[in-house]
Symmetry: C2
Subunit: 205 residues, 2 copies
């Protein structure tokens, strides 16, 4: 581009960005409520649990405490568990599941495990010292009917007013989505697994 073209482009860019800034600033000014949020990360793509653990890191960065209950995964020790267990004063970390349900093939056993996990989750949801509760793979336990949605929603609704909760897992139930403040649907565009690449340390586990 010639110099005048370049200048014109820069001017258009500046004008567009000024308009965008005005819109964003106005939205921020409007949004003023301060309260704990219920977030749901669902969908078939990769990143539902990872995003919850990123929020956990963010919470610790603010000097706040957090709790984690893993409902289904956890027979295998994972990288995030090894990492966040380094901070026992800041993170209460509970691995309650014993492998995916297709590993166990025993429905009553899965129900019992899910109920034990929910008892632990309820304790975290009653503790005002805990700024964030991660309920990892809870959606799976709800989808298979191992836990009742009504019970789960009632306990979440009764939590301390500034506590955030993030629920992960495929197949979030409509009632949970209805109750949530923020819902992300993580879609699979493509996955290395489809191309014959095995699960990689640091990426998948």
């Amino acid at each position: 581009m010639s110099a005048p073209d370049e200048t014109a482009r820069d001017e258009r860019h500046k004008a567009r960005m000024q308009r965008k800034k005005a819109v964003v600033d106005a939205k921020i000014a409007e949004a003023s409520a301060e309260r704990g949020l219920l977030l749901v990360n669902s969908g078939n793509g990769k990143g539902k649990s990872s995003a919850a653990f990123g929020m956990l890191a963010r919470t610790l960065g603010h000097g706040l405490k957090a709790g984690v209950v893993q409902f289904i995964k956890g027979a295998a020790s994972t990288g995030e568990e090894a990492f966040f267990r380094r901070f026992p004063d800041e993170v209460r970390y509970f691995v309650m599941g014993e492998g995916f349900t297709w590993e166990t093939q025993d429905r009553q056993r899965d129900i019992d495990k899910a109920e034990q996990a929910w008892a632990v989750a309820r304790e975290l949801l009653q503790d005002p010292e805990i700024a964030l509760v991660v309920l990892d793979e809870l959606n799976i336990a709800l989808k298979y009917g191992y836990l009742q949605l009504d019970t789960v929603l009632a306990d979440i609704a009764a939590r301390p007013p500034l506590q955030h909760v993030v629920v992960t897992g495929r197949g979030a139930l409509p009632g949970l989505i209805e109750a949530a403040d923020t819902v992300s649907e993580i879609g699979l565009v493509k996955h290395a697994f489809q191309a014959g690449v095995k699960a990689q340390r640091g990426v998948e586990f």
Copy 2:
């Protein structure tokens, strides 16, 4: 349900889960390649950067090292930055952007900043000690043309064979998606911001 119904339901569940386990086990057996992956987290929903930082935690949990370059965000200090800077021997953390582009409104300045950031990213992409490189909001810099996709893809392709790279940000370019191994599109189902809730500490920053 009566007891016989319950038993029949448990049996059906077991049979279904046995079939599912067989399918999953076969897929795992097929997937055998061991190599560094290029992951892209795009879309309009919440969780793109959080998922990358969750992977970072996972990487550290395996005793590996990582590097982060934040391309656009970062004028404000965020929770994840405060947290991961606690581990200077394990994480090389660079905040190169100075606010979103609609804050600066100066195209040439943004290009210069993006090029400086890429020089840092290239160093990480040449370091075999680094198991994971997070290129946070790189998609924004590419979308606005602050960096050239060809240059970026060439540097990523030339990295050590076992190094993983995760790129975040809305509007991933088709050429990047084409080059990637795993791509997640994070869709916005709903967001608390739309309901007048302001950005919350530990959730949004």
